[in-house]
């Protein structure tokens, strides 16, 4: 589904990603763990097209998309950005609708919405409110609904659990696996928090200072204590 090879990304003169390679197969849930500034968000942004890599290839279904225009890439992608970029003056429902209309299959996307809102039930009754009037956690749930509902092959989530209440975090994990089982789409999730990725991922990558430092199953990640190193959980108490 998604194949990234030897990706080098620079911000001005500063290199952020160093020869990153990773794959996400069809129907797979893959998480990238790493600390602040490790390059996780940049990696997702390169896939979406907000960042142009200096070198390397990004292939979706075998086609190199690096030189595709942004909207051509994003038609087939669901993306939840790290900052909640909702359209503030549109209502919650309109935010979802406008996202659905951007996909190739708007009808199927709108059909998914009801089911996904069941996981994020606190915002179910707020569909007619303007997005800007929602609280931080509510906005996060709305961005997640918007991204998860998209009837597309690949969904990218940038720190999806940020700002969510613990009970909703469990629902989020359930929503992701259910949506994968239902539509067969692939997930690439970026997180600092480890519980959800360890719980639902098929494979995990550890990103340290812009390089892939670990690759394996969640079980291996825990057993080898690789994750602790990458996230620096155990160091310095």
């Amino acid at each position: 589904m998604l194949e990234i090879q030897d990706l080098d990304v620079f911000y001005g003169g500063t290199q952020v990603l160093f020869g990153v390679s990773l794959t996400v197969k069809k129907g797979e849930i893959v998480s990238i763990l790493g600390r602040n500034g490790a390059g996780k968000s940049t990696l997702l942004k390169s896939v979406v097209g907000f960042v142009t890599p200096k070198q390397g290839s990004i292939k979706v279904d075998g086609k190199d998309i690096v030189h595709w225009p942004l909207e051509k890439r994003t038609k087939g992608i669901g993306y939840q950005p790290d900052t909640k970029r909702l359209f503030g003056t549109l209502t919650a429902f309109e935010n979802i609708r406008v996202s659905a209309l951007g996909t190739k299959n708007a009808k199927a996307t709108m059909g998914n919405v009801e089911g996904i809102l069941n996981y994020f039930h606190p915002i179910k009754g707020m569909m007619n409110r303007r997005a800007a009037t929602l609280s931080g956690g509510e906005q996060q749930m709305l961005t997640l609904t918007r991204a998860l509902a998209r009837e597309v092959g690949l969904i990218l989530l940038d720190e999806p659990s940020a700002g969510l209440a613990p009970a909703i975090r469990d629902n989020l994990a359930q929503a992701v696996t259910d949506q994968r089982d239902k539509s067969g789409c692939s997930f690439l999730i970026v997180e600092q928090e480890i519980n959800i990725p360890l719980g639902i991922s098929d494979r995990i990558y550890g990103l340290l200072n812009g390089k892939i430092a670990f690759e394996g199953t969640p079980k291996e990640a825990v057993e080898t204590k690789a994750i602790e190193d990458i996230l620096m959980i155990s160091k310095k108490g």
Binding site: L70, E71, G76, F87, T89, L90
Partner: protein, 315 residues
């Protein structure tokens, strides 16, 4: 039927539209006919400009090019092409098509840029068209324009100012409902409002910002072209003032006076400006001084225009 009407009128935007329609329907009886005609035509022009500033979210200094193209294409075809006067109405849509083509060209070039660059690219393109029309004297009449454009007729019945007004009124209604459909009630409108707020985010949802904006710009051109064609037939004259840069200023003031984020805002602005000009110029030739002060007051005191404060009217 009655309940359907009641339901329609629960919405404040619909109410405002009905008020505009009633006003235009009776205005020839309550205000001078020439003023009513100007309000209708320039109201439509201001609303077409409202699409650019209100929905695309950019200020354009080139809108006169679209109006002028509509007027010149219709006007010159009527002038030069010899066909029965009752069939000459087909030159009306020709002006609209001309305006759309010019809008596609201007939009294609200017929508690559934003803000001042967008505004000035449009101004440059308008000036280009202005000077071309000025130079091709043999065809356009240059500085003098073309006088005595034959008016189309209805069969053997000549067009009276009244019948022309009500024909335009019907065309205006069609435009009004098309605009409402395309820019208030459709998914397309939602996409444009999303783009206006955050282009990058809209792109990340799968939209070509450029293409969506170009569509809106071309539609704006179509409505400006309708206004231009109307004006050429009504005045039986086309001239350089239709393409003059100062017309942009007038249109922008009209739109901002009424409020660009309100569907009928630009229309109201046009009506107020035209009425004020008429009333004040009876007392002093310096009517622009008074209007200028009024515009300053509105811009400083009511930044969203006269109707912009009514939240239920805004989109």
């Amino acid at each position: 039927m009655l309940t359907a009407c009641k339901k329609y009128l629960t919405n404040n935007v619909n109410k405002s539209i009905v008020i505009v329609i009633i006003f235009l329907a009776i205005s020839p009886f309550i205000i001078p006919k020439s003023i009513a005609m100007d309000i209708l035509i320039f109201g439509l022009l201001a609303m077409s400009y409202g699409i650019i500033q209100g929905h695309i979210g950019q200020v354009s200094f080139g809108h006169a090019a679209l109006f002028g193209t509509g007027a010149y294409v219709t006007g010159l075809l009527l002038y030069y092409v010899d066909i029965p006067s009752s069939a000459a109405w087909i030159f009306f849509p020709a002006g609209v098509v001309g305006a759309v083509i010019v809008a596609l060209g201007m939009g294609a070039l200017s929508l690559r840029r934003r803000g001042a660059y967008f505004a000035l690219t449009n101004l440059a393109l308008l000036q280009l068209i202005y000077f071309i029309v000025l130079q091709v004297k043999g065809l356009t009449g240059g500085d003098d324009g073309k006088w005595g454009i034959p008016a189309p007729t209805f069969g053997s019945i000549p067009v009276t100012p009244e019948s022309l007004y009500y024909l335009y009124f019907v065309i205006f209604l069609v435009c009004l409902f098309l605009m409402k459909r395309m820019f208030l009630d459709s998914p397309n409108a939602l996409v444009l409002h999303a783009i206006k707020q955050d282009e990058a985010r809209a792109e990340s949802l799968g939209y070509s910002v450029y293409r969506e904006m170009l569509k809106a710009y071309a539609l704006s051109g179509a409505f400006a072209g309708v206004a231009g064609a109307m004006y050429a037939i009504q005045m039986q004259y086309v001239g350089m003032s239709y393409l003059h840069w100062s017309l942009n200023g007038t249109v922008i003031i009209m739109a901002m006076l009424g409020g660009v984020n309100v569907f009928i805002g630009p229309f109201l602005g046009a009506a107020i400006l035209i009425a004020l000009k008429d009333v004040i110029s009876m007392y002093t030739v310096h009517w622009q001084l008074i209007v200028g002060i009024l515009v300053m007051v509105v811009i400083l005191g009511l930044r969203e225009g006269i109707l912009g404060r009514f939240k239920s009217l805004r989109f």
